[in-house]
């Protein structure tokens, strides 16, 4: 039987994830070889012990939450390059909306993969060029007194305001509950990291929408 496009994406994705894992582990190994210094394992474990319970459980939640939204190719790519919730996911959503295709269809898969690949390449180039060329200037641009500083501090409200407007206008009935719930949670726990808040608002949004659908309110 001939393999489907999805089968092939998963095969490429598996190979690329394992390759990426090997490449990433080469980073500390090559630094140690180059500097000819190996830190005491005890200290590395001590450092890891305090972050792994949180980071690795967040990783499980992120994979389960984002994978259905990003599509297969988009997920494999996004988890290599990172910055998913604040960049890759909104970028994929925007592209699918513009191309008028649905997530979890082959067309959605294609558009989301192309958008996330274009976004990953752009981010990598901007980071590389920025580090090489603008390193002396950048701290001045983003420093507290710079006229550009407020713009960079507000990049997330600007991004999600613009992205949200289209969705809220189209689906206002199902938007009210998750926004209200998110604000309510933060009223009581203002310090909560947005990464922890995302699974909460996503689950509330899914539950609310499911109930409204069952009750034929939408």
């Amino acid at each position: 039987m001939e393999k489907t496009y999805f089968d092939r994406v998963h095969l490429w994705g598996k190979i690329s994830s394992i390759t990426a894992l090997a490449v990433m582990l080469c980073i500390p190994v090559s630094i140690c070889l180059y500097l000819n210094v190996w830190p005491q394992a005890g200290n590395v474990f001590k450092g890891l012990l305090s972050i792994i319970p949180l980071f690795w459980s967040v990783a499980v939640v992120e994979v389960v939450t984002y994978a259905p939204l990003l599509g297969a190719g988009g997920t494999y790519l996004s988890f290599v390059t990172g910055n998913i919730s604040n960049l890759k996911l909104p970028c994929g959503l925007n592209a699918m909306q513009n191309a008028n295709v649905r997530a979890n269809t082959e067309e959605g898969e294609v558009i989301s993969t192309i958008a996330i690949a274009a976004s990953s390449i752009t981010t990598t180039l901007i980071l590389a060029i920025g580090v090489l060329l603008f390193a002396p200037v950048l701290p001045k641009m983003t420093a507290a007194g710079s006229p550009f500083a407020p713009a960079f501090q507000q990049v997330l409200p600007a991004l999600f305001g613009a992205l949200g407007a289209g969705y809220f206008a189209k689906h206002w009935k199902i938007s009210i509950l998750p926004i209200a719930a998110g604000i309510l949670v933060l009223v009581f726990a203002p310090q909560l990291a947005v990464g922890t808040l995302i699974p909460v608002t996503v689950i509330i949004s899914l539950l609310g929408t499911h109930i409204m659908y069952k009750k034929k309110l939408i």
Partner: protein, 256 residues
């Protein structure tokens, strides 16, 4: 020469960047070919690339700025490498901070790391702390996607609504943060306040106006760029407000 910013470290950074670009290009070419087979027009495919690249510029510059925040302690190159691969500033800062604390370095990232062993340990902790998704994906992703695909095929309307609900849930978290979240006390403008809410509202209004213009004047070409343009314009509004409003209003943050 500082070992943190030596030629070797830059070479390593260059290699990692090329790896990420090559991988992205591979997936893009495969998806592009499949898109043509499915009958998606070349214009739509090109627009997807152009608008995604434009969409990415401002957030990528913001990510670049975060490289600087940890460059004081770890040099420019290691934060650059880490933010190119599974990078996310909150993870990297936490990982690096914990690595330094494991060496009993009080103040953590506030001071420059001069000990090679500490630097290498930070690289290990920052890397191993973040690799879990790359272990999970090859094992579980196909199963997750197949289940979602089956559910989507049995009831298309419900599946569409659930997909929209999940997106809206994600966006809602960031909207709530801009309205009611507190930020880093040491950073002015990080918490919810006048500037964050004004930027949010400006972005929404500009986006709705641009969509209206697209529909009314049938400007199809503008549609893919409405979102990135609204985002950049809203950042411009934040800059403008910071200049024209009295200082006490600019820094007004109701959640600190």
């Amino acid at each position: 020469m500082d070992f943190k910013e030596s030629g070797f470290m830059y070479l390593l950074g260059g290699f990692i960047s090329l790896f990420v670009i090559a991988q992205s290009l591979f997936f893009m070419v495969k998806a592009w070919k499949q898109g043509k087979k499915l009958g998606i027009s070349a214009v739509t495919l090109k627009n997807t690339v152009a608008s995604s690249a434009l969409f990415t510029v401002a957030p990528a510059i913001a990510i670049l700025a975060t490289v600087i925040t940890i460059a004081g302690a770890l040099g420019l190159v290691l934060p650059w490498i880490k933010l190119t691969t599974i990078g996310n500033i909150s993870y990297e800062v936490t990982a690096a901070q914990n690595a330094l604390e494991a060496f009993s370095i009080k103040g953590g990232l506030a001071f420059e790391v001069k000990d090679k062993a500490v630097f290498a340990a930070a690289a290990w902790v920052m890397t191993v702390g973040c690799v879990m998704p790359l272990i999970l994906l090859p094992i579980f992703l196909k199963k997750i996607q197949t289940k979602v695909g089956k559910a989507a095929n049995t009831n298309a309307k419900w599946a569409d609504l659930m997909a929209a609900a999940a997106f809206i849930g994600l966006i809602a978290a960031f909207i709530a943060k801009a309205v009611a979240g507190s930020g880093d006390k040491a950073v002015v403008g990080d918490g919810a306040g006048l500037l964050s809410v004004s930027t949010l509202i400006a972005a929404m209004v500009i986006m709705l106006v641009l969509q209206l213009i697209c529909n009314k004047f049938k400007m199809k070409w503008l549609e893919p760029f409405a979102m990135p343009l609204s985002m950049i314009a809203a950042m411009g509004v934040a800059m403008l407000l910071a200049r024209i409003l009295p200082a006490h209003l600019v820094v007004l943050e109701w959640r600190g």
